[in-house]
Symmetry: C2
Subunit: 376 residues, 2 copies
């Protein structure tokens, strides 16, 4: 047997050490506490499920993206969860099928996928989220977007940008006012993703009708004006989408940067009319996302839902959520009652176990001198 | 492909729903917060590691007890963690090898094993623990036992019993004052476990010398008196063990029931001189355990350590950690500033998304009538 260095961990799986581990826990707590004040109740799904039940609900996730294992107990393939949104949806559709709607659920925990990518070298990530099940209305979107922002702000995150998108916009335009032959829809989507006006025009006049969407991108209000001009040219076919976006944006504070990218679809494979990505100043890539989607009920019908998920690991790596506790060294023979009082006042105490211990080496700023914390 | 009922989960893996999921999170938080006030700092090891690195550090865990998967990235076998104590030990021995000692670490998270048993039908459990690395002294044991008790009491657990044991007692007696032939040591252990005086006597006079240990079991002070009488007969060979147990017991409050079972070894395969199990009134089986052990350093030497782990799921199932939040229904058109104030005062708010929603059905006790929460 090959002997590995004992500390070696598999690629994409790592230890979080103090103080980052504490910051991670604190950040997740603040998000969960914030969503709890808005009535979201915690669920804890298992780490693994039968592969079928997971992949049925993960439209954007292929089985080969999952970490799978044959379960010797059931003789069936289990898959570790790459995402908890689908698990919350399963719970809503099964054990909580008869709970009153709208149903508000929250969750937090590790998710794991088979392969990392360059942007996300970690295979195990922390996911924290909230799902509002039973509605995908504008009112539901207003609540979800604003709760997500409040949760991040409670966690100390500043410089937040929210990028709105309309994930099924191309499909609904192609099926209505701006018909596209089925064989070019995917090409139109690709060129809109690439914002390549030349390539889009080259796909023919039907595709070229989508050109204005490339311009309806960027800072929210200017992009919305361009989207409205486009809407006027197609007879107001997306009036309700525009009214919805304006209503969602309205209560959002001036300290949040809003942008629009109406045809963005990466990562929104299961969202329908509304999606949003969350960015924070100084971070490459999104720190969260959300939007509207449908949950398959046991009877074959769909239930509307709206939710968001945060992936706070990059924030933690950058120091968000960090706090320096006041650490107090307790010498041998200290008064334990006084020490307990000081813990209640917010001190973290580090008790000497033997003679000669150095509280300063233990990162204590003070030591208990009789009844008084005394600075080193 | 077989179609399963969509809500079916693999045996031993289950959803925790509201309010139990919230109670679980709250209980883990209170334990972690308590140990943090004593200077224990959080680590977050990954869900899976290379099988070798896990099994090297899990003396009591055989590879076939682990949920394993071949990792297509490394082409090696990964194992999901069945326990986090060994992971904390790995961190202490590697990345934190040069951190000052004693090193105090805490952790919380799901652990998973291949098979459940009748007593523990869950394959995935929550583990919360604290490890004190760099000492296995009596002072370290005093700290660990008392921090464990304080953490459980902070979580609302009452009726706590602590059962002390001396895991390597038989080995050290057999190697010293009460020699046993190597081929009967295991049989002596088995009969002491079974408390079968007849079978122990039948193993011969060397084995029969261990008979008094069967009686040194039960309520702490009476059992200690019998253990001291036994010690007197073997020339004080376990003086230090007895002094250690008395010192550990001394600061423990009258509200904790103490018992002694000096030869108990089930679950203490990696502990050495000291171990303890934690029980709570009304629960079958232990809710936690701890004791002294050794961590293998990279240089081949051992480092002493002392720790405890709690498995709070049975407590949560019984309702520990549950709290009924004050839920307030916010009708359409409510004042959002007033609602935010009420959230800060401790209310959980549930905002109407559309006309005709029933706050009472959403388990709200009150609704916001102008500026005032009004009982339904």
């Amino acid at each position: 047997m090959t002997i590995f260095p004992p500390g070696l961990l598999p690629e994409g799986l790592s230890d979080r050490l103090p103080p980052q581990a504490e910051a991670s826990a604190r950040l997740a707590r603040r998000v969960l506490d914030t969503v709890a004040t808005h009535g979201y109740e915690r669920v804890m799904p298992p780490l693994a499920e039968f592969e079928e039940t997971l992949t049925q609900r993960l439209k954007s996730m292929r089985a080969q993206d999952l970490l799978r294992v044959v379960d010797p107990v059931s003789q069936r393939t289990l898959a570790f969860r790459p995402d908890m949104t689908a698990q919350a949806g399963r719970i809503a559709a099964t054990r909580l099928a008869n709970a009153p709607r709208p149903l508000r659920l929250s969750y937090a925990g590790p998710v794991i996928r088979l392969r990392a990518n360059q942007l996300r070298p970690e295979r195990e990530r922390l996911q924290v989220g909230a799902e509002l099940i039973g509605s995908d209305s504008v009112a539901a979107a207003v609540e979800i977007v604003n709760v997500a922002i409040e949760a991040l702000q409670a966690a100390g995150v500043t410089g937040i940008t929210i990028d709105f998108t309309l994930p099924d916009l191309i499909d609904s335009l192609a099926a209505g006012p701006l018909p596209l032959a089925p064989d070019i829809i995917e090409a139109v989507r690709t060129e809109l993703d690439a914002k390549d006006a030349g390539a889009l025009t080259a796909l023919g006049p039907d595709a070229a009708a989508y050109l204005p969407l490339i311009e309806a991108t960027g800072p929210f209000h200017a992009a919305m004006d361009r989207l409205e001009a486009f809407n006027a040219r197609i007879g107001g076919a997306i009036d309700s989408r525009i009214a919805g976006l304006r209503a969602i944006a309205k209560p959002i504070g001036w300290d949040i940067t809003l942008t629009l990218d109406p045809t963005e679809r990466h990562g929104f494979e299961y969202q329908n009319w509304f999606g949003f990505s969350i960015f924070a100043e100084g971070f490459i890539g999104e720190i969260g996302r959300g939007g509207s989607y449908a949950i398959a009920r046991a009877d074959g019908t769909d239930e509307p839902a709206m939710g968001f998920s945060l992936y706070p690991d990059p924030l933690i790596d950058a120091g968000f959520g960090g706090e320096s506790p006041k650490r107090l060294f307790l010498p041998l023979g200290h008064d334990p009652v006084r020490a307990a009082d000081l813990r209640r006042e917010g001190w973290q105490t580090v008790a000497a176990l033997s003679e000669g211990e150095d509280g300063a080496a233990q990162r204590c700023s003070h030591w208990l001198n009789g009844a008084d914390p005394t600075a080193y």
